[in-house]
């Protein structure tokens, strides 16, 4: 069971909470203690809007353990409006063709379960074609 390592990331996972550097105002995701832009100390939380566009994407047919029941699924690098790229799955695609540059928005979904059906459910961000 990996309860603690998922539990402590709930803010980041559920709501895309990153950081804003108090020194250079760069927005950071995932959060880290040292600003990658200016090297200053960074720990001011910042909640991203969840809006962005697809930077690149691919579909996974041979999934790693823990994701087999979701295959095939699409993962993407999403360029957030505030700057950072994030890695996440695309969801609710239905018959929508994915394209680089496609506007997407964050939703909170079930990422996987910890172990089998007895394990905790791990929720986190995914992105879907923008509806708003």
């Amino acid at each position: 069971m990996e309860i603690p390592r998922h539990w402590r990331l709930k803010q980041q996972r559920y709501s895309l909470v990153g950081e804003i550097c108090p020194h250079c105002q760069v927005k950071i995701f995932p959060p880290r203690d040292v600003c990658p832009n200016c090297g200053g100390e960074a720990n001011t939380p910042y909640t991203f809007s969840g809006r962005g566009e697809v930077y690149s994407y691919t579909t996974i047919y041979e999934a790693p353990a823990g994701f087999e029941d979701k295959a095939p699924y699409t993962v993407a690098l999403v360029k957030l409006d505030e700057g950072p790229l994030v890695t996440a799955q695309l969801t609710d695609l239905g018959d929508t063709p994915v394209e680089i540059g496609m506007p997407v928005e964050m939703v909170t979904r079930r990422l996987r379960q910890d172990g089998d059906e007895r394990g905790m459910l791990i929720y986190g961000y995914k992105f879907r074609p923008a509806m708003n």
């Binding site: 709930k10 609710d92 909170t108 979904r109 079930r110 990422l111 929720y123």
Partner: protein, 356 residues
């Protein structure tokens, strides 16, 4: 107007400060169920199609989105929320609240009440009445009430045609901040075993035709009549009405019995195109009405939950609705987002394929 001491009326006026809907993307046509289990011979199908959640969706994820939509319209500080209550018969955990996850996701934790309700299809309105009580007593400024389900019907059962996914969330707060004021609610509850699901069972059982007159109709009629009577109103005093909708016919019939016209119930009658969303059904209809209502419009909502009971609400729209309702996706936006699936995909999405 007769003084009705059974009416639930808050001592401080309350209302809906924000509302939000959610309906998942996928649709299973009823004719697919018919094709699979009834040889495509059914004369009439209970609905056109039902909403089916994706592989990564459940009551928690759907509630988060509905609650976020409600927050967008409410424009309040989530730290001022004192309760997150969610009614559902399909909570992902048997033990472990859905509500704590939702509270965390919308920024309402940690200074909140959080609990999961269960009362079949009226668990959501149950949460609303509780929220009215908390806010109406001035114990809290805001409370979140959600009714959402990802209902399951036994393969081939009559319920499989309709058991759907969707629901709504409401931020209940002081009337002077509300998009719609809730004048009062009334609840009518008896021990009527028309439908249930025993512990550890995947699919529910139901009393077939017994679910009609002694259950659905009796409770909705009693609750509806009591609300009209104690409010000194009749159907014509309401612009809109919405009733629990397990199929297309029942809500049409009960509306007629209470004196409502088809025009009054049409905007809130979503079951033909999304199915029966259980705890979400009546209140999702309410969100669709709020999406089109005008200030001053009066709305009667009557839910029904098997087991059995009904909650009735007398609601009046305020001016604030117009300035805030466009701040989030509308119910019809979700209904229009639609990808049809076949029975095989449905079986996979709903976990009906044995994987081990």
């Amino acid at each position: 107007m007769t003084e009705n001491k059974t009416l639930l009326k808050p001592s401080r006026p309350v209302g809906i400060v924000g509302y939000g809907a959610y309906v998942p993307r996928y649709r299973l046509p009823a004719k697919e169920v018919d094709r699979m289990w009834a040889g495509e011979r059914s004369a009439g199908l209970p609905i056109k199609e039902k909403a089916v959640p994706g592989l990564d969706e459940d009551v928690i994820t759907m509630s988060i989105e509905a609650a976020r939509n409600a927050m967008k319209r409410a424009e309040i500080d989530p730290a001022e929320i004192r309760a997150v209550w969610i009614g559902s018969e399909s909570h992902p955990y048997a033990v472990k609240p859905s509500s704590t996850i939702i509270a965390e996701a919308i920024g309402a934790a940690p200074h909140v009440q959080a609990a999961d309700m269960e009362f079949a299809c009226k668990a959501g309105t149950e949460a609303m009445v509780m929220a009215m009580g908390l806010v109406g007593s001035s114990m809290a400024k805001y409370a979140v009430a959600i009714g959402i389900d990802t209902a399951q019907g036994k393969p081939g059962d009559a319920l499989e045609y309709t058991a759907a996914a969707g629901g709504a969330a409401f931020i209940i707060g002081p009337a002077d901040e509300s998009l719609a004021v809730i004048n009062a609610s009334y609840s009518f509850v008896t021990d009527t075993p028309d439908f249930w699901r025993r512990e550890y069972q995947i699919y529910p059982e139901h009393g077939q035709r017994f679910t009609g007159d002694p259950a659905y109709f009796h409770h909705i009629l009693e609750a509806g009549k009591a609300m009209l009577e104690s409010s000194g109103t009749s159907a014509k005093d309401y612009t809109w009405a919405v009733f629990h909708q397990p199929n297309t016919k029942f809500p049409q019939k009960v509306a007629q019995m209470l004196g409502f016209s088809p025009e009054q119930i049409t905007p809130g009658l979503l079951s033909p195109v999304i199915g029966n969303t259980y705890a979400g059904a009546a209140i999702l209809g309410l969100t669709a009405i709020l999406d089109i209502a005008r200030p001053g419009d009066r709305i009667l909502v009557v839910s029904f939950g098997s087991g059995a009971g009904s909650d009735a609400f007398d609601i009046v729209v305020t001016d604030k609705l117009l300035e805030r309702r466009d701040k989030a996706l509308k119910t019809q936006d979700y209904i229009a987002r639609r990808t049809e699936i076949d029975y095989a995909t449905y079986a996979r999405y709903r976990g009906k394929i044995r994987m081990k």
